[in-house]
Each structure stands twice: as C-alpha cells, then as structure tokens.
C-alpha cells in the first residue's frame, strides 16, 4: 500500500500527464488521483483520504481552483499551481488555507522541494502540531496523541475517557477531521442532554405518526452519520433501554426508525466519550458490559489538568494571545494557577481567565484571584443601587443578560463544572445553558 495519496486538479491534459510523470518518478511512495474539474476533485476528496493536493488556480474559470482550497480537509496539504505572481492573488490563496505554490512551467527540482517540505511537516513536526492543537507538552498525554493518525485512519471504535472539561469533544473532532470520512459528517450527540423519552427518536429517527407529536419524518443521528462519524458524548448516560438496541446496530449496521417497517443501513464510525467510570456503572447494572467491550476498540485517557500542571502556562499563553493580547499575568499569579487543583479542568481555567480579563486590568496579579476563584465585584450579592446605575447606563436587557450569566456561572462553578448537574438544578434546557456558556466565551 502506498504511504501518501496525491490529488492533482488540472484541466490541461498535457500538463497533467507531465506532472504525473514527474511526481511518480520523484516520489515512489505516493498514489496519484487526477481530476479535471472542481466537481471531480470534490468527489475524489470525499471518497479518499488526500494527503497533498496540487490545484491549478485557473480551471474552467479564472481563479476557480481557489474555491477548492476552502472545501478540502484541513489536514490536506494544499499546493496551488499557478502562473499568476501578483501579490493579491498569493495573499488571497494563503488566507484561504493554501500551504504552498508551484509556479508554471512545472520545474522538477522545485516540485521535489515542496514534497520534502510536506514530508518534514508530516513526520518530524508531529509533536509541535500536537502541542499546538491540544495545548500540552505532557509526555504521557503526547505519548497517546502520537497515534492520532492511526486512530483517524482506522474504523476501530474509540472510547475517550477523561474528567469533565478536559477536551474530549475537541479530541474527537480532530480525529474525525484527520480521517478518511466526509469532514462535514460528524454527528455529535450528548447522551446526558437528551431526556430518556426522546432518546430513541433522536438516535434512530422516526416516521410521521410514530407517536403523538411526530408530525413529520425525522432522520436520526445514526442515519445522518452514514459515511461519517457518530460521536456519542457522555455515553455513560445512555438509557439502559436503548443500549441493547444500539449494540445490535453496532453489530449489524442496520436499524428501523421508530414507526418504520423499512430498515436503514448506516455505515458510520463510532467514537464515544465519558467522564464516568463505566466499569463501576457495569457493576451497578447501569451499563451493559457487552456494549462496553464493543465500544472499547481503543481506549484513550485524557489526563486531568491537575495531573499535567506544566501545561497550564501553555494554555494561558494560548488563551491570552488568542483573546486578550493586552493582558499580562504576573509570575506570582502564574505560580498560583499552577498550584490549584482545577476540578473543572480546561473549561474551568478558560472561565477563570475570562473572568480575570473582565476586570479590565492590563496586569493581573495574585490579589485579583482569591481562594481559587476570580474576584468579581459583588459576585454573589447584587446591590440594588449599583444595578440601578448599570440599568440606566447600559439598558435593562444588557444588565439582565449579565446577571443571568453571573448566576449561571456561579452555580456552574459550585457544581465543579458539571454540566448535567447545573442544568438539572437550574431547571434549564441545554440550549439555554449552552447559549449562556457561549456568551461567557466558555
């Protein structure tokens, strides 16, 4: 089997033949795909995992090739073939995600340089990529992450374990985006968010009239994940009544939507995540052991932030440079951050940094954060006079939103950042909860 796959998108047949001859001579490890048009290229890229693509900038229409850059997977190394050398076009290509240029007429030695650069980035900078993507230099965690391409390219079920807020969803998304499945087909279902009565319909879909309220046909997540990935977050919360039925789907890849007599086939890859101890749930008869072993093709354990404190500096630097470039943390505050236990993991750290940033100070020091929590003026008690002033200044709607966020975040923090517990206590729908979280940039 060839190690790398190349996609050439070129409408001129002579250039295409020349290019294919050059690349097959210079790079024996590659398998080449060839497309004459944008639509052909998209079809090939959806059916195959493409490592590197060479795209003619001018296909049927001028600059049409640039459209393709946006549509190819992030993991594909994109090289634009062009005879244009104007700065504006080059800038536009890079802003769309192009990685390199190859000028026409195509020159063998320059093609070799581009291939070498691609190989260098793929093989030698893998740790740098992992550190930047997962914000870690922890050897134990990195040791696992180095298998990311293997996980991405196989269809083996993955079970991601880790405490709440540690980045399980992020890892699942990265694995999916590097794989050979359609990048747009990642179906995410948080099992903890769906009430038991609605779970079956959400997963399997239903036909119109299947039950009271089923006013139209609805596709379930299983069907929508066909030729993609089904990501089941908080799998430990899957109702026991569904587990048997779901196990059968994993084995047969077919199922019946509610109220339907016609079976549906779905070829999906399964990734699950949980912060629960599934073995404990099995002992308590809350989770089926056969389903557990079926899901545990490969097990990935994300360490808690408390177990990789050296990463706190990397995370803080990343967060501030992405969101608050003008804020500096003193070494004393950094030391204090590094010594805290972080029960809410990265989610808690991001929340704290947002709160600290809202203090509107350029330099943040230890006194800005007391007892493991960010200082917020009047964080738990609201003074009427101060509220009145705020309402007159910012308007009622804005102040009400701020109050809502403060209350939700306070209870979220009290619950050690457990999503389910917070939603249950506040009798709040998941949509409202995540909207407020989004507003607080969590």
């Amino acid at each position: 089997m060839k190690k790398y796959s190349v996609l050439l998108v070129e409408d001129d047949q002579l250039t295409a033949l020349s290019f294919l001859a050059l690349i097959s001579k210079q790079w024996a490890e590659c398998e080449c795909f060839y497309a004459k048009s944008l639509s052909e290229a998209l079809k090939i890229s959806q059916q195959n995992k493409i490592d590197i693509s060479f795209i003619d900038m001018d296909l049927e229409n001028p600059l049409e090739g640039l459209e393709l850059i946006k549509k190819l997977k992030k993991s594909t190394y994109k090289v634009v073939l062009t005879s244009h050398e104007d700065q504006q076009t080059i800038f536009k290509s890079y802003s769309l995600g192009c990685n390199d240029f190859l000028g026409k007429p195509i020159n063998g030695p320059i093609l070799t340089k581009i291939i070498n650069k691609f190989l260098l980035l793929r093989d030698e900078d893998v740790d740098q990529y992992l550190t930047q993507t997962f914000l870690t230099q922890d050897e134990v965690y990195l040791g696992q992450l180095r298998f990311i391409n293997k996980w991405a390219l196989s269809d083996v079920p993955l079970l991601i374990l880790g405490p709440t807020g540690s980045g399980k969803s992020h890892l699942a998304k990265e694995i999916h985006s590097r794989g050979k499945k359609d990048e747009s087909k990642l179906m995410h279902l948080n099992c903890a968010e769906i009430p038991e009565a609605l779970f079956e319909g959400e997963l399997f879909g239903y036909k119109k009239g299947a039950f009271t309220g089923a006013t139209q046909n609805k596709k379930g997540k299983l069907e929508m994940a066909h030729e993609g990935t089904l990501f089941l977050d908080e799998i430990g919360s899957m109702p026991l009544s569904i587990q048997q039925k779901f196990l059968r789907v994993l084995e047969e890849k077919t199922f019946y939507p509610l109220g339907s007599e016609v079976s549906v086939t779905s070829n999906f890859r399964i990734i699950c995540a949980t912060c629960d101890n599934l073995e404990k749930l099995i002992n308590e008869k809350k989770f089926r052991s056969d389903l557990f072993f079926r899901l545990k093709g490969e097990e990935i354990v994300i360490p808690s932030l408390g177990d990789r404190r050296a990463d706190i500096a990397i995370i803080v630097e990343y967060f501030l440079s992405s969101n608050y470039r003008k804020i500096i943390l003193t070494p004393q505050l950094m030391k204090k951050l590094a010594s805290y236990s972080w029960p809410g993991n990265m989610r808690e750290l991001f929340l704290l940094l947002n709160n600290l940033a809202s203090l509107d100070k350029g330099i943040l020091d230890v006194e800005d954060w007391q007892d493991g929590e960010a200082l917020e003026e009047g964080s738990s008690t609201f003074q009427f006079e101060s509220l009145r002033g705020d309402i007159l200044e910012k308007g009622l709607a804005c102040v009400m939103q701020e109050l809502e966020s403060k209350i939700v975040m306070e209870i979220f923090r009290e619950n050690k950042f457990k999503v389910r517990e917070t939603m249950r206590q506040m009798k709040m729908s998941n949509a409202t909860f995540y909207k407020i979280l989004g507003r607080a940039k969590v």
Binding site: L14, T15, L17, S18, L22, K25, D58, K104, N107, G108
Partner: protein, 58 residues
Amino acid sequence: MDKELHDIKSDLSSLRTASEVLSGIYFKDKKISLQMIQLMQEKLQKIKQLIESSAKEN
C-alpha cells in the same frame, strides 16, 4: 486578444513542462510519451493558427 494571449502563454508553459519530462533520461513510458507528443502537436497547431489569424488581422 487578452484571452488568446493568455491561452498561448498557458499552452507554451504546458509545452515546456512536457518537453522537460520527455527529454528526461528517466522517462521511458512509450505509450504516455506518444500521447504527450500528440497533445503537444495539437497545442502547437493551435498556436500556429492563432499567430496566422492575428497576422491577417494586422
């Protein structure tokens, strides 16, 4: 004329790449060589016609 000029430049670029490949000592695939030569002939013919029609116009 701009479009024609652009097409000629594009064809010349394609011909140059093809001649580099065909003249390389490593390239020994006869079937592809013949296919490339035929495509080169077509491009040269097209360029010749464009030059002739342009000369007539001027």
